[in-house]
Amino acid sequence: MNNSLTNTARLLGTGLRALLVLTLVTGVIYPLVVTGIAQALFNDKANGSQIKADGKVVGSSRIGQAYNLPLKEGEETPRPNLKWFQGRPQNGLGTNSVNTQYKLILSGATNRSADNEELIQWVKDARAAVIKDNSTEGYTVKPSEVPADAVTSSGSGLDPDISPAYADLQVHRVAERNGLSVGQVQKLVDDHTAGRMLGFMGEPRVNVLELNIALKELMAKI
């Protein structure tokens, strides 16, 4: 009995030593080497692909953000600032935990199922809002034109992109709110629409932050 106990202890000791040696290799040397190479070769990307406008950092081209009006008294959630292009709805982790709402401090999805009453209501509300917000004088959004990404939350809650269809749908509104012509804004969207990588990878998309920065620059020129 005593003998088997010492054997077990010796074996566990061997296991622990193995773990410590491999921790040094894979848990210290490996991440430090990769960080060194990454910081030397891809400094900008390794630090989050930050993007500047007017000399100031305005976020990351990879991470979506909110374009809202300041929160008014009595409001629980701020209303969107319709001057700017809007990203996807981000209902975040919902009532289950902290609500992400484009806050990088916690990423995540709503995890609501297709038959979840709350999700059905969110989608209905988002759809109605997209139609109402984007219809201008002389341009009415048809319900069939609203793409799925405009009314659903993404997996990360930080989706930086929208579909070209959703961007196109916002053109009339953005033009009206900023006193620009529809043609000017449409050109902006077209210039910022990225196709599939190498023609087949991923989906066509528009980076909302880059589009809004270009919009701001256009406004400054006028």
């Binding site: 566990l12 030593r17 960080t35 990351s60 374009y67 990088l104 990423s107 038959d115 799925a148 599939r196």
Partner: protein, 554 residues
């Protein structure tokens, strides 16, 4: 080009890349595990361990190595989390509670990577890189070592010797996982994944406010997380997070990393048993199931049945625009048919059938192609079962790869396939019967039940993905899922190694006209059938209550 065609092209590109890597990587891994030469660095490591890498071990010794190393891993990772509050480089995060620390330690050591914590709100640099990422390497290396031991059981005769655990495990890290991870991590950084050690800081925003960022060694962890079929995300959103998986290319590349070792190991197997055709038969089985599941998943996600998706006009809830429906579906199948569990879109918001496909993928035992190592040994166990069933049909003693499958062998194989379903169904039933666990559900009805069934299927099969609406950070779930992960990982390994030991003691029987030709397509068909029928019958009642009920109602 429509999204469906683009999806098919991406699938073909993925298959082409896997096919290109198959021969060189498979042959290389066979050489790694057959070579007598130890690298100098491996000798240093083995000296540090205090083990002689050249000693041959019989199965009990090999198993003791596996268990001792893994027990040390659980203990170390548990303590690291409990001490986080006083460790440097913790970003100000406090110690993890005991039940969650146990769950997480069990999770990463068992190659599951189930996460009941929120990465960016709980784990600092030290725990992530020196704790969690280390287990990503070594738990994968342990899985490969056990698979190689079983292959040696078939390849060797009249010796009972299975190789040296310490040498196999260390070589898996130094010669396979580490070199590929370094390259993969740099590719991911080049795509835009972050890799730094900055603390929590504010970054300005377009509208003038700010976002709170925390840095991290993300790309280095992401690479091994996919390559070692681990799946535990640095961030809560896992590979949906743009800093883990920034572009459509990084997305396809990560799917490739998930699949490349499990598929290529069939070549390693063929090489080591001296018949590449035997490896192709296993590869054919894995490939057929994987492709079939991908086709079904693409169909249901593009058709998007379900009330919310009908109104939205597409199943984009929980999916990223840059990946779209197609690669979210391919990823979901690849992550649940391996033991990965990383996600680039959230399975709980898939269609009813889509969630069911992910669930069934795990319940098949993750053999198509399965986790690194665990996929191969799981599939070889199923092959043993399949030759046994075929033997019963024709009234002959079954044999596989020249080894007789007698009553002792088949008992061990049977124990292997019974453990996981028993864990899944008993724990699910207990959680449903007790009054409080159900409070963790986010969704109600059939989907709520699926959340719990999914949790235990994921835990016991060492997958780690979730119907993440379930609030799993409760004492009940942390404890029971922790147990399911440990038992679901190490009990099967006991039976695999015992079987390997028995096989290695046998003398080979020459093939005769009556021998079932296990390298032929007929056997591949038999094996696919055996896997689907055995699992299907085991889980059908539970699946009928969850995803099938939800899918049929939509």
């Amino acid at each position: 080009m429509g999204p469906v065609l683009a999806g098919v092209l991406q699938l073909l590109a993925l298959i082409a890349a896997l096919a290109l890597a198959y021969r060189p990587l498979g042959d290389y891994m066979a050489r790694v595990y057959s070579s007598d030469k130890h690298w100098r660095v491996e000798k240093w490591i083995c000296r540090g361990i205090g083990a002689d890498p050249s000693t041959e071990m019989r199965w009990p010794a090999y198993l003791r190595g596996v268990l001792a190393f893994s027990a040390a891993g659980v203990l170390f990772l548990y303590l690291l989390q409990r001490l986080q509050g006083v460790l440097p480089g913790s970003l100000g995060f406090s110690a993890i509670d005991p039940d969650q620390a146990f769950n997480t330690a069990a999770s990463f050591v068992s190659n599951t990577n189930w996460q009941s914590y929120y990465g960016e709100q709980a784990m600092g640099h030290v725990v992530q890189t020196a704790g969690l990422a280390v287990q990503n390497f070594v738990s994968a290396a342990v899985g490969m070592a056990v698979a190689v031991a079983l292959v040696r059981g078939f390849a060797r005769s009249r010796s009972g010797e299975l190789g040296n655990f310490w040498s196999d495990m260390v070589r898996g890290v130094t010669r396979i996982l580490l070199p590929v991870s370094v390259i993969a991590a740099i590719v991911l950084v080049a795509c835009g994944a972050i890799q730094n050690f900055s603390g929590i800081h504010e970054v300005g925003q377009f509208m003038g406010d700010s976002q709170e960022w925390n840095g991290g060694a993300v790309a280095s962890q992401e690479a091994i997380k996919e390559l070692g079929t681990n799946g535990g995300g640095y961030f809560n959103a896992n590979s949906a997070h743009p800093f883990e998986n920034p572009t459509p290319f990084s997305n396809l590349f990560e799917i490739f990393l998930i699949l490349v070792i499990p598929f290529s190991l069939t070549r390693t197997f063929g090489r080591m048993v001296g018949s590449l055709k035997q490896g192709y038969a296993i590869l054919g089985t894995m490939g057929a199931i994987w492709l079939g599941f991908v086709a079904l998943m693409l169909w249901t996600e593009f058709a998007h049945p379900g009330p919310a998706f009908d109104i939205a006009g597409g199943a984009m809830e929980g999916k990223e625009v840059r990946f779209g429906i197609s690669t979210s579906s391919i990823w979901a199948v690849s992550t649940t048919l391996t033991s990965t569990g990383a996600v680039n879109s959230f399975h709980s918001s898939f269609t009813g059938f889509g969630g069911g496909i992910a669930l069934l993928g795990m319940q098949l035992g993750e053999v198509a192609p399965g986790g690194v190592g665990s996929g191969l040994y799981g599939m070889l166990i199923m092959a043993v079962i399949a030759v046994f069933i075929a033997g019963l049909m024709v009234g002959r003693t079954p044999e596989y790869l020249g080894k007789k499958i007698g009553s002792r062998e088949i008992k061990l194989a049977a124990c292997y396939i019974l453990i996981t379903p028993a864990l899944v169904l008993v724990f699910t039933a207990a959680a449903m019967a007790l009054p409080t666990p159900g409070n963790s559900m986010t969704n109600s009805g059939a989907h709520g039940f699926s959340e719990i069934l999914y949790a235990y299927s994921s835990g016991a099969n060492n997958n780690g993905s979730a119907f993440a609406g379930l609030n799993a950070d409760t004492q009940w779930f942390n404890t029971t899922i922790g147990l399911a992960m440990l038992l679901g990982r190490f009990l099967p390994m006991v039976f695999v190694l015992a079987l390997a030991g028995l096989l290695a003691e046998q003398r080979p029987v020459p093939a005769t006209a009556g021998t079932l030709r296990t390298e032929k397509p007929l056997f591949t068909g038999l094996l696919v059938g055996a896997i689907l029928i055995i699992t299907g019958l085991t889980y059908f009642p539970a699946l009928a209550l969850g995803p099938l009920a939800e899918g049929l109602a939509a």
